[in-house]
Amino acid sequence: MSRLKLFVPVGVFLVLALLLWRGLYLDPRTLPSVLIDKPLPEFELPTVEMADVTTSKDDLPDEPFLLNIWGSYCLPCLQENPIFMEAAEQDLVPIVGINYKDKPHLAQMWLEDNGSPFDYSIVDEDGRLGINLGVYGAPETFIVDGNGVIRYKHIGVIDYRIWENEIMPALAAVRAEMAPL
């Protein structure tokens, strides 16, 4: 019995090492969203493309789509734009933008310079829609199903690896669920 006790420190060490090892791969910056499986908040806002017309929840696509938080000031947004452009060209999925805490004329210039993968971009100049979505900085990307319910959230830049391994499978899962039986 006392022999076994000698191994207690080793056991404690192993448990701690395991926890710390796991901790190395946790990203404290990705906060789990509490809005998964909740409906999108209501809004009544103009778009970058049309300043004098407002758009609302009802105008969003009635099939699963991506909702991307972006801004002309946001470098990672520039980085992920080619992926969205490719997806838009191939008609993989509708992408709606939310131009978060930006100036519409800067947003228009950004879209002209870099190309727009978006069906349209909702103007959220004061960031209030962002708050209702639990956004804390661009870029963030939601997958919303055809009923306007948030199903998935990715925080930070999307690269090809994330696109292939996370976004597309999550989108496929939502689509499979939405498909009529």
């Binding site: 969203s33 509490v34 809005l35 962002g130 956004v135 900085g137």
Partner: protein
């Protein structure tokens, strides 16, 4: 005597410099607080509540600062929302609910006591108890050893006396 003065001055110069720096830092920190207080309130009580709430909520973007101490984009927006909700006459509970619904438990500096956070709250106590238990075990085992060592029987004492005398003699 006159030479001592410059020496002392030189000795204290680094401290003076440090003190100046600290004061400068304290002064330069004031504008940040001024920015927080830029909102207008009808009553002192509303302002107190605003300050209290901004201190209680954690800035979602900047990890370890409260809303008061953050100038990040979303922190500013959240302070604006708090101000607006206070002016609308919403209670602290309603404002906290608003934040929780959007940002989850992360937004609270003092996490709520739930099944998920129970280890967070009482984990340290658990470690303290475990440590105390180990220490108690060590103390209990150590005590008999001390007693045995301290009490010598007569033959041992005689031997000790002789040994001590031997040490003293050669000198």
């Amino acid at each position: 005597m006159s030479r001592v003065m410059p020496d002392t001055a030189r000795q204290y110069a680094p401290f003076l410099l440090l003190l100046t720096l600290i004061v400068a830092l304290m002064l330069s920190a004031t504008p940040v607080r001024a920015a927080v207080d830029a909102f207008e309130f009808d009553t002192q009580e509303q302002q107190e509540r605003f300050r209290h709430l901004s201190n209680e909520f954690r800035c979602p973007m900047c990890q370890n600062t409260n809303l008061t101490g953050s100038s990040g984009g979303v922190a500013e927006d959240l302070r604006r929302e708090i101000h607006m909700m206070i002016m609308e006459g919403q209670t602290d509970e309603q404002i906290t609910r608003f934040m929780l619904d959007r940002y989850g438990d992360f937004i609270l500096y003092r996490p709520r006591l739930t099944a998920e956070t129970i280890l967070l709250w009482f984990g340290p106590l658990l470690f303290l108890l475990a440590g105390g238990w180990v220490v108690m075990g060590i103390i209990r085992r150590a005590r008999p050893v001390e007693r045995v060592a301290a009490e010598l029987d007569t033959t041992e004492q005689e031997r000790l006396r002789k040994l001590l005398e031997k040490v003293d003699e050669p000198r």
